[in-house]
Structures are given as structure tokens and as C-alpha cells.
């Protein structure tokens, strides 16, 4: 029986929270004040199980608790800790997960929370009733059944051992609802809010704001520090910057561009802080393997060799939200490649002239004439798509290719890329948790992965994925992931990596207790945040 350090973890997490490790280590958190922050997108409904936009997790997240969550104090955004779960045990065959639920938790309307509520919420996610949409249901296909044998125990039974089971239970969208309300109306939570989170719902004025106030009966004693929060909806970027400049809002928790950061630095000087991290989001170039020259590996390799990623990093990090070179994992996370590893991959070498010469050679060998023209289909969002598109076109020009860009409006973009209506297109991948099982899934063969828009089949890649998913120790898993990366990027160049996005989160200096993580979907319960001066 393998016991996870659950109790210890939970207690130490509690201690850590109570000490408020946000700002300077020796500062004592103060109670009081209202945190005003900007959210760019409005929630179409309040149901986290149904939606997939940060427009829900950011303003509505504070009202709910999760079973497990990503540790808000972990800058890598990888450590999973208990929220409503006090402790948990995984069975030796890895098919059963047993969670112990905290005692003494109450909903905002006064009803106590018990294990049946957790079961009902996860039933709502994994086995939704007729007419209810659960956005991420497909990710839980390994779950066979959920049981609540007593008021404080929840058991998940899996069909097969899934290494990424725990991360799935820590998903920021898995709000825990009341079983009673779900029984009365499974769609009640789309238009109502009733959770166990650190804040209680006050109002939502469409087009304007969401307001929450402290939950006096929150199960973490002494928290939250704030009296309440106000999420204001400001859609245009320039208005957001102006609002921050005037200190009418204290933070914007998604991320801003380097240009905007410079503006705020100049205007606010010492009163503003920026927390930066690699973003769990990156752009990959999809090459349609079903179209003529791209089926040839040499052409794909040429396209990636032509790109000077080092100059790209230097130049684009000044004007848009990208920065670091990366492979299949967010840099500096557990299974990420080191710079030395990356330099050995095609397209990452420092000698760009040599790379480009080889690219030309490969193109000639593959029979692609000089001046060959194709269209790059890009997504109609300014950052960082526009800059990345312009840069790539410029790089491909230098090996003699004539590339025009077609900008597809975001709404039409999915139809285009899913329908395979492109030669070369800019794809993206975002996640809420850095976990190879979740991140590498996409790149498997077209029969297995719905998100493989390059439409290729590669059995070696599939086998490597399965192997790393079942790896028993860290070292062997790391090696397998490196091999996967090499096969994907270097040997076959199925998908071309660009640069990892870079997250710059601005907040006034007085906002303490909030840690940036690679994902803008997590760390939004805000119970550790406090206002200093």
C-alpha cells in the first residue's frame, strides 16, 4: 500500500497558508480591504463543469472549493495539495483512489458539505445527466465509478491505472456543488452560485463586475484576509492599462505584453510589481501531412531548420508574450528538456547559417523548387500570433520560400484547422497543469488524438507515449519523454515548436500573497491574498 504524504501535506499547506508566504517572508498578513482586479472576458454561465474560459475561473473561482488543487504557493504550478480532501490513498494496483473529506465545511447557504456532495459533483462532470454539457468529460474516460461509502469518504474506481489521475482531480474547473441542488435541477449551477469557497457571491452586473464578500464560515480558519473582491470586466487592452495606471484596479491576473509592462513601469514606478513565469501555453506549427510536399519528412525538417529560434527569442520577447525556447514541456518543470538537450534538436542549433544551408539542401533533395509558395493560416489574435506569423514568414523567405499569410478570424479558425483546410497553420496548446500525459496526448496519431491537426500517423510516437505513461520511475520516464520529443521535433518534424509563451502579471505592490504559476486558470480562490501598503 503506497501511502501518499497526505496528512502531512495538508497540515503543512495549512501552516504555509496561515503564514502567508506571498510577499516578504517576515511580513504579517493584514485583514481587510477589497481586491479589485481586471478580467478580460465575461463568464457565459457560472458552471465550471460546462465552460472552459478563464472568464469563469477568475471571477467565479473564489466562490468554490475543489477536491484537490494546485498549490497556490508553488511557482512551478505542479504540486497538488488537498482542498476539500484532507488526505488520500491510492491502492497498490492504482485502480482505486480513496479521499478523506474535511469535516465542518458548510455551503454558503448554510448546508453542510459531505462526501455525497463531492460524489454528485464528479458524477455531474463524468457521468452528466441528459441535457447537461460537461466540457472535459472525455478526459475522465478512465473512471469507472464514484462512491461515497460514508459522509466523509469518496472513492474513485478506475478502469485502468492512469498516471495522470491525480491531476485530473485537481482541475480548476471541478467546482464542488451541492448534491441536493444538482438533484433538484442539474443545470441550476449555470445561473446560480452556491459553493464552499472563501468568498460568497454578492452580485454580477453584466458588462460590469462580479462582487464577492468574505465567507465567515470558510473552513480554513482565519482566511480569507480580504473583506471581499471585485472583478471588473474591461475588454480592451488599452483600457486595462489605463485602469491600472490610475490605480482603479489592483491587478490583472492573466498576463500583459512587454510593451504594456514598459508603460506601467514608467507610469507607476515603484508602486507596481510584475510577477513573471513561463506560461503553460505555446504555439506549434501544424503541417498538413495529407498535402503534397508536407508528407515528405525532408520538407518538414527544412521548415524547422530555417527558423532561428535564438534570435526569435531575443527579438519577440521584447514585443509580445513569448520568450523561452522549449520542447514538449514548459521549461524548468520536472520533465522539461535542458537547454543543452534542446540545442541538439533540429531548428534549435546556434549556427543558423549552417541550419539554413541544410534546409535548402533538403528542399532541393525533396524536389521543392526555389520560390515555392504556400499560405500560412494564422489565428486572428494579435498576441503573440501576429508577431510569430510575421517572424516565421520572414525566416522562410530566407531559404527561398514565398509565404503569404491568411489571418483567420478566431471563430472560423477551428472549423479551418479541424477540417484540415490548410497547408501550414499556427496551432496552439494550453494547459492548466504541467503533466506529460496531458501535454503529449495531442501529438499522438490521428486515430488516437482528436487534436492532431497535422493528420499524421506515427506508431513509434504512440508507443513512446504509452511507455512514458506507464513508466514506474522518474529517470526512465524522463528518458522516454526525451525520445518522444526528439521523434516529434527532430526526426519526423511532425509539428514545429515555436517559443513558450511568457506570462507577465502586473499587480500593485500592496497586493500580497499571490504567486504566479504557469497557468492562468489556477490559483484563483484568492484566500491567501492580502493588501498591505
Amino acid at each position: 500500500m503506497r501511502r501518499v504524504l497526505a496528512g502531512l501535506l495538508g497540515v503543512s499547506a495549512l501552516v504555509v497558508f496561515l503564514l502567508g508566504t506571498g510577499g516578504a517572508a517576515t511580513e504579517t498578513p493584514r485583514r481587510g480591504g477589497e481586491l479589485v482586479f481586471i478580467v478580460q472576458s465575461e463568464p457565459p454561465s457560472y458552471d465550471g463543469h460546462r465552460e472552459e474560459t478563464f472568464g469563469v475561473t477568475q471571477p467565479i473561482g473564489p466562490f468554490y472549493s475543489l477536491l484537490l488543487r494546485i498549490d497556490p504557493t508553488d511557482p512551478k504550478g505542479a504540486r497538488i495539495v488537498g482542498d476539500l480532501a484532507e488526505s488520500w490513498i491510492r491502492s497498490k494496483d492504482q485502480l482505486t483512489y480513496t479521499f478523506k473529506i474535511r469535516k465542518g465545511v458548510v455551503f454558503h447557504d448554510g448546508q453542510p458539505l459531505t462526501a455525497p456532495d463531492v460524489k454528485a459533483s464528479y458524477d455531474h462532470i463524468i457521468f452528466p445527466p441528459e441535457g447537461v454539457v460537461s466540457n472535459r468529460r472525455g478526459a475522465y474516460s478512465a473512471v469507472k465509478a464514484i462512491e461515497a461509502p460514508d459522509d466523509h469518504t469518496v472513492v474513485f474506481r478506475l478502469k485502468w491505472p492512469a498516471a495522470a489521475a491525480l491531476p485530473l482531480f485537481a482541475s480548476p474547473w471541478n467546482f464542488i456543488y451541492s448534491a441536493e441542488k444538482l438533484r433538484q435541477d442539474p443545470r441550476w449551477y449555470e445561473t446560480h452560485i452556491n459553493g464552499t469557497g472563501p468568498y460568497r457571491f454578492v452580485e454580477h452586473i453584466k458588462g460590469s463586475r462580479v462582487v464577492g464578500t468574505r465567507n465567515p464560515r470558510y473552513f480554513r480558519a482565519g482566511l480569507p484576509y480580504l473583506d471581499g473582491f471585485r472583478a471588473t470586466f474591461v475588454k480592451s487592452e488599452s483600457a486595462q492599462i489605463a485602469t491600472l495606471r490610475g490605480a482603479r484596479a489592483m491587478a490583472q491576473f492573466r498576463g500583459i505584453t512587454p510593451g504594456e509592462k514598459a508603460q506601467l513601469e514608467t507610469a507607476l514606478g515603484d508602486t507596481i510589481r510584475f510577477q513573471e513565469s513561463a506560461w503553460d501555453c505555446t504555439n506549434w506549427i501544424a503541417l498538413n501531412h495529407e498535402r503534397k510536399p508536407y508528407a515528405d519528412r525532408r520538407v518538414r525538417q527544412a521548415l524547422t531548420l530555417a527558423i532561428d529560434r535564438h534570435e526569435m527569442s531575443r527579438a519577440l520577447s521584447r514585443i509580445t508574450i513569448v520568450r523561452d525556447l522549449a520542447g514538449v514541456q514548459v521549461p524548468e518543470t520536472e520533465y522539461a528538456a535542458s537547454l543543452a538537450d534542446l540545442l541538439t534538436l533540429k531548428g534549435f542549433g546556434r549556427d543558423i547559417d549552417r541550419s539554413r544551408a541544410e534546409a535548402r539542401r533538403l528542399l532541393a533533395e525533396a524536389g521543392v523548387p526555389a520560390g515555392f509558395a504556400f499560405t500560412l493560416k494564422n489565428r486572428g489574435i494579435t498576441h503573440p500570433y501576429e508577431a510569430v506569423g510575421i517572424y516565421l514568414i520572414d525566416q522562410w523567405r530566407r531559404i527561398g520560400l514565398t509565404v503569404t499569410q491568411e489571418v483567420i478570424e478566431p471563430a472560423a479558425y477551428f472549423a479551418m484547422i479541424r477540417g484540415g483546410d490548410f497547408d501550414v497553420a499556427v496551432d496552439f496548446q494550453c494547459g492548466y497543469l504541467v503533466e506529460p500525459d496531458l501535454d503529449l496526448y495531442k501529438f499522438q496519431s490521428v486515430g488516437i488524438s482528436d487534436a492532431n491537426y497535422g493528420r499524421y500517423r506515427d506508431d513509434v510516437l504512440d508507443e513512446l507515449y504509452r511507455a512514458q505513461s506507464r513508466a514506474t520511475d522518474r529517470a526512465s520516464r524522463l528518458a522516454l519523454i526525451r525520445r518522444f520529443e526528439r521523434r516529434l521535433i527532430d526526426e519526423e518534424a511532425h509539428y514545429l515548436p515555436t517559443l513558450q509563451w511568457h506570462r507577465i502579471v502586473p499587480h500593485l505592490r500592496r497586493v500580497r500573497g499571490w504567486h504566479v504559476t504557469p497557468s492562468h486558470y489556477v490559483n484563483h480562490q484568492l484566500e491567501t491574498v492580502w493588501l498591505g501598503d
Binding site: 527579438a315 501576429e386 508577431a387 517572424y391 520572414d394 499569410q405 491568411e406 478570424e409
Partner: protein, 295 residues
């Protein structure tokens, strides 16, 4: 001299064309200035490879967002591309789109207007309805539909802009054509056996020539503005093609304070072009017939 008489003299006696142009320039200096600006822009655009100091697509990552200097007179943009060269090449897009859409829109509108006025009856009614519907329809959706189905590109933008212009012209031309249609002269000519085509060409067209010319020049200014707006919204031409509207989004807004030249020059270019077209169009209208005030 009566303005209307001036018009007919110009149109029916070609040899006084040169003299009329000179007269025009002398009496209406603003209009002449407008025309001159347009001509200078057109020449610069045509001779762009000669006039522009750099290749507009050439990036230089060691000189990103550089301030105006002797190397780059108007500075460089976020990719180190020379702003002056991009503005000169951008004139190609702006003027091509402006002139072609205006021509297409005005001509299409004139055809519909004249046809509507001449044939009357259900042709007129149908034409009126179609014009009404198109006039009440927002340009954004129309442009979006064109771009979504046909993609970006100069000619698709031309199509997207022509669609709102044609009905406006149709409406104006129709009223002018109606004024002629109702005179006894046309009925008499018909009774005398003149063919429809001849009546339309010889008698109705000359009368709508004045409002047609005025609408044409007015449209050119509007078309340049619309092209800039559509590019700004992402519905026009796409990067890295140089286009004035495109130069005003993205980095220009982000770096508006640290690199104001990014937003300044393209805005001035657009304003100057539209300004010039409008000045010329105004003066032309004054010269031809101030009664054309409904434009």
C-alpha cells in the same frame, strides 16, 4: 459664367479640357492642392521600388523600434522594418483599393440608378428595395462574410468595400436620371423611334455625369478610410503586406508612448490621402453644380 454651362462646355467640347483644368486650379486653390497631393502619392506609389529606401519586408532585429534617424527617416517598427518604405508601399494598397472600389462602386451604382430611372415600373421597385436593404446593413458583417468565404487579399477588400458604395451612388444617380426621364424630351425621342440604348447614352448619361464624378471622388476618400478600418479590424489585407491600416494596430498601440512614430506616420498618411481626395471632390462639386448638395 453659370456653373451648369461650364459643365456642358467641358463635356461637349473636348478641346477646352486643358483650359478648364487651368481655370479650375486658379479659381479653387484648395481643390487643386488636393489633386496635387493625390498625384504625388500615386506617382510615389507607382515608383515605390525606386523611391523607397528599403525593402518593406526586410526585417532588422538589431534596430527594432528605432527612433527616426538619418538611417531611417521615419524610424522602424517592431520588426526593424523601415517605416518610410512601408508607408510608400502602403500607398499602393491604399490607392489601388481606393480608386478601384470607388470606380466599381460608382459605376455599378450609376448603372443601377440609370436603369432604374429609365425602365421604371417593377425594375425600379426591385432596385429600390435592394438598395434600401443594402443601405441598412452594417459594413462589418458584409466585410466579414466576404473575408470569411474568400479570404484576405486586396481584391476581396475591394469587393467588400464596393458593396456599401454602390447603393449610395445608385440612389443619387437615380434622382438625377429621373429628372431627365420625366421631361417630355425622352418620350418624344422614344416616339420618334430612337433606340433605348441611344436615348440612355446620348441624353441621360451626360446629365448624370456631374453627380457621378462627384460621387466618384467622394468615394475614393471614403474607400481609403474603409480599407484602413478593415485592415485595422483584421478584415483587410494581411501582414506582412504593407498597408496603412495594418501599421496602426498591434505594436503601434502597445508602444504608443515609447515609440509614437509608429502610430503617427500611418495615421497622417491616411488622413492626408482622404483629405486630398475630399478637397478635390469638394472643389469639383462646387465647380459642376452646387445644387448637388445632397451628397
Amino acid at each position: 459664367m453659370e456653373p451648369a454651362l461650364e459643365t456642358s462646355l467641358v463635356l461637349e467640347h473636348g478641346r477646352s479640357w486643358c483650359a478648364s483644368v487651368w481655370e479650375f486650379a486658379r479659381r479653387r486653390p484648395l481643390g487643386a492642392a488636393g489633386a496635387a497631393i493625390v498625384i504625388i502619392m500615386a506617382v510615389a506609389a507607382a515608383l515605390a521600388p525606386v523611391v523607397a529606401p528599403y525593402d518593406p519586408l526586410a526585417t532588422d532585429y538589431s534596430a527594432m523600434l528605432a527612433a527616426p534617424s538619418s538611417a531611417h527617416w521615419l524610424g522602424t517598427d517592431a520588426f526593424g522594418r523601415d517605416v518610410l518604405s512601408r508607408i510608400i508601399y502602403g500607398a499602393r494598397t491604399a490607392l489601388t483599393v481606393g480608386i478601384v472600389s470607388a470606380l466599381l462602386g460608382a459605376t455599378l451604382g450609376a448603372i443601377v440608378g440609370v436603369g432604374s430611372a429609365y425602365f421604371g415600373g417593377w425594375v425600379d421597385l426591385l432596385g429600390e428595395r435592394v438598395v434600401d436593404v443594402l443601405l441598412s446593413f452594417p459594413l462589418v458583417i458584409m466585410a466579414l462574410a466576404v473575408v470569411a468565404t474568400l479570404g484576405n487579399g486586396v481584391w476581396n477588400v475591394v469587393l467588400a468595400i464596393t458593396i456599401p458604395m454602390a447603393p449610395r451612388c445608385a440612389r443619387v444617380i437615380r434622382s438625377s436620371a429621373l429628372a431627365i426621364r420625366r421631361t417630355a424630351y425622352v418620350d418624344a425621342a422614344r416616339a420618334a423611334g430612337f433606340s433605348r440604348a441611344r436615348i440612355i447614352l446620348r441624353h441621360m448619361l451626360p446629365n448624370v455625369m456631374a453627380p457621378y464624378l462627384v460621387m466618384l471622388t467622394a468615394f475614393m476618400g471614403q474607400a481609403v478610410l474603409l480599407e484602413a478600418s478593415l485592415s485595422f479590424l483584421g478584415l483587410g489585407v494581411a501582414e506582412p503586406t504593407p498597408a496603412w491600416g495594418l501599421m496602426l494596430k498591434g505594436a503601434a498601440v502597445d508602444f504608443a508612448e515609447t515609440a509614437p512614430w509608429l502610430a503617427l506616420w500611418p495615421g497622417i498618411a491616411i488622413s492626408a490621402a482622404v483629405f486630398a481626395f475630399n478637397l478635390f471632390g469638394d472643389a469639383l462639386r462646387d465647380a459642376l453644380d452646387p445644387r448637388l448638395r445632397a451628397l
